[in-house]
Symmetry: C2
Subunit: 483 residues, 2 copies
């Protein structure tokens, strides 16, 4: 890395993040359209590993993969009133083809409800077709007017994951939301990312949703980043797109629908949460290279450190690890620097004395700890150490998240938190929109919503008052400065 | 399948093809934008298997995967004069975002040269960066004015593969074209697709290319389908996009570039070439289900055919095969029909007598042959039979292709071929554009080009005359009715 440190409480985190994305080979933001970036091979490899896990989870839970066109006719887009209101300011319009204007203008999907649901109404006929569960991973487009930021706020989301389901009734849709939460939890553990789930306030629901849940992680600068959403649409879209099924008794009912969305923000979170002043620190689960072996030749040494390194690599590969031997003709220190930047979780150093003594040294990327090991124990030690790294990344991040959630009773206390170390502030709330918006304004922060599941939203509010109106509190409301 | 047969020489092939795509679950063409289709789960699974092979080949040959934005600024698109001329009639224009017109209009990529090459000029600095080899698999857009046809001629190509390379000189670019041809040959064998390679005539080169090669297969109706292209751009784009490198002696030179392109037409070819009146016939290499086991229960039988089927399935899965046991409560005949439609290469039928005698019956999808096997020999027999199916598909298609290439000396003979069984006609040609275009007109066919490698284009032309001008023939020219 350059001179920029991963400082909190300042613009330096942003600089650190932007510089790292480029120097570590994640994306190139010099593409000549603002807010649209080029994925570089190393970044794409990490993202593919994240996607492979998501696909496996989709498969495990009976979701089928589909692929819809990226262009949606204006006429379809306009069928659900709230949805169009929510998106009309940020869609890209295709108005011409070749030299001619189009009869029906097309939008570039900002999300795929309006592309998918007229087809759902053709596909879903009877209760036997339900639950109906599909997903796709595609590019979507949003004309962001706020400051863009690679992987976080972009005008082309290159890797947008969206699962769409249809159900016989509200209860079955609720079961789906539970399954989504379970999938998300497994994914977050896979990425070593602790998170919180909030039920969004009504004024911040997904356009067209009955309710929306959001998953947030804590960024190093104390702001939160939404990395997953689950929405229960009830029958809102089903009615707009006429998605009906025949019940067992021969009646016709509208389906209940849910969606579950994620994106390349998952990668942004991994980079931001686990990284340090030396660069990225990748969880072993998604690192394209889990172990890099650096041979350290010495002049006049009678043993072949390269052959020794290759032999260890071969053994580790057979055991299922992703291994690279760095045989470049440059100083070992330079190699350490490169692989630390790229976040390789474990380095193995082998010099002539290691060859002679049938040993090696493991160097952990997360703690920089060096661990001497016996040659014959390497596979076992690597496995153990990678597991320990993953666990440490998770625990470290969990400690950080937890120490950045503070419960307060008054606006003044909440303000003090945002002035000091930021993070998430939990405040008793009467549940009225007016009071919620007032707090957002006073705190210059966003209401993430109320803790979810619902029971959690009422824990410890007995006797508490809403600090705006003074009435009895019904919920805990979470506020944060957000990305 | 319905009543439509896979007849040649008529519109029935088209009907057969369209009906099959829908009934077998490949795509749904009822999406409300003409020429843009929805990929269904089964079709997408087959396509993913094709892509996995392509990715492995890219990896093997040192190409790195990248991902570029789908939107290209008008200003970048216009840098190479021939390229814009070739594409301006068929690009989609994004002119507005939200409620405002864009300052610089954007096109939806029809191919990615103009998106990629300004970045290449930033990335490539020295001879040490060369050869530079990248690829991506993305959605591209072409406003086709001809009749659209799913997977073949579409306005959204959902699965467009494009490899782009840069080299120190023309010779190294030529080596790349050879590597592309080798990759293509391995892929074609993987898909059991025999093909021919032709060097396109100058008037049909890719816009901006120095020369273009095309790979064609023979469709059941005697028309050809282009399923791969390789282009040597020489320095045309490098000069337009200023892609220079520093040589070992410190000079600056423009790179030489090539591209290699394929798409979902690969799947169209597989379906069309191998299919029959009962539906698809998938090569085992890409079949999502390679073996389907159909238990045939009989009333009052004392043995459990389902348990026996599951046991066989488990053993086959352990041996690495993709297996499905069809336990639905419907007649076996209905199951045969479904899986034949979906092209599953091998069916295993097990009835009570098979359980008792520890036997089973294999049914080949390609020949409908039934093969009784011993229980203990099943894994081995399945392997052998799947290999035999793949080989038979290839040989059958090869025979068909070869019997549809006819060499003639005169326009009259050529016309007779197109009136009779169609296919590819090879005619001696002087090499002049005027004579070539004249033949295209007279035959109402397209010149695919001259056989490639170049030596093949001159085989057997001694003493032959160009049938248009009567001058000495310099090449063999291939003509066909094309998709």
């Amino acid at each position: 890395m350059g001179k920029v440190k991963r400082e909190r409480w300042s613009n330096e985190f942003s600089e650190w993040y932007n510089e790292l994305l480029e120097t570590a080979g994640i994306i190139d933001k010099r593409y000549p359209v603002k807010g649209m970036n080029v994925w570089l091979p190393y970044g794409l490899k990490i993202m593919r590993n994240i996607e492979a896990f998501i696909r496996a989870e989709m498969n495990r839970t009976g979701h089928e993969e589909v692929l819809f066109p990226a262009l949606i006719p204006e006429t379809e887009f306009q069928k659900e009133a709230e949805h169009i209101k929510g998106f009309e300011d940020e869609v890209y319009w295709v108005t011409h083809a070749g030299l001619d204007p189009l009869d029906v203008r097309l939008i570039l999907r900002p999300t795929s409800e309006t592309a998918m649901y007229s087809m759902f109404s053709l596909w879903i006929r009877s209760h036997a077709d339900l639950p109906f569960k599909v997903y796709q991973i595609v590019n979507v487009y949003r004309y962001e007017t706020k400051h863009t930021r690679p992987l976080i706020r972009v005008r082309e989301i290159s890797r947008f994951f969206e699962a769409h389901t249809a159900h016989v009734d509200f209860e079955d849709a609720e079961r789906q939301i539970k399954e989504d939460l379970e999938i998300f939890d497994r994914l977050a553990k896979f990425l070593a990312l602790p998170y919180i789930i909030s039920k969004r306030p009504d004024w911040d629901k997904f356009p067209g949703a009955f309710y929306s849940l959001g998953a947030e992680i804590m960024m190093p600068d104390g702001r939160t980043l939404q990395i997953g959403t689950m929405h229960n649409y009830k029958q809102n879209f089903a009615k707009a797109y006429n998605i009906q099924y025949e019940t067992e008794t021969g009646d016709h009912e509208f389906v209940h629908q849910t969606t579950f969305g994620m994106s390349e923000r998952l990668l942004a979170a991994v980079i931001a949460v686990h990284g340090d002043d030396s660069g990225m620190v990748l969880p072993p689960t998604i690192a394209p290279i889990q172990v890099v072996i650096v041979p350290i030749p010495k002049k006049d040494a009678s043993v072949d450190v390269f052959a020794y390194a290759r032999e260890i690599a071969e053994e580790l590969r057979k055991a299922g690890f992703r291994v690279h031997v760095d045989e470049r003709d440059i100083r070992p220190g330079r190699k350490y620097y490169d692989w630390e930047l790229k976040g390789v979780p474990l380095r193995i150093e082998v010099g002539p004395r290691d060859v002679e003594g049938r040993k090696a040294v493991l160097a952990r990327r997360d703690t920089f700890e060096k661990i001497p090991v016996e040659r014959d124990a390497i596979v076992e030690e690597v496995k153990k150490t990678l597991d320990a790294i993953h666990e440490n990344l998770y625990n470290r991040a969990k400690g950080f998240l937890e120490s950045h959630i503070k419960r307060v009773d008054t606006i003044e206390e909440a303000k003090a938190v945002f002035e000091d170390r930021r993070g998430i502030v939990e405040i008793p709330w009467c549940g009225d929109e007016e009071c919620g918006l007032k707090m957002e304004e006073e705190l210059d922060a966003k209401m993430l919503g109320t803790p979810y599941p619902e029971e959690k939203a009422r824990e410890g509010i007995e006797g508490k008052k809403c600090p705006v109106c003074g009435r009895e509190a019904k919920f805990i409301a979470r506020f944060a400065r957000t990305y």
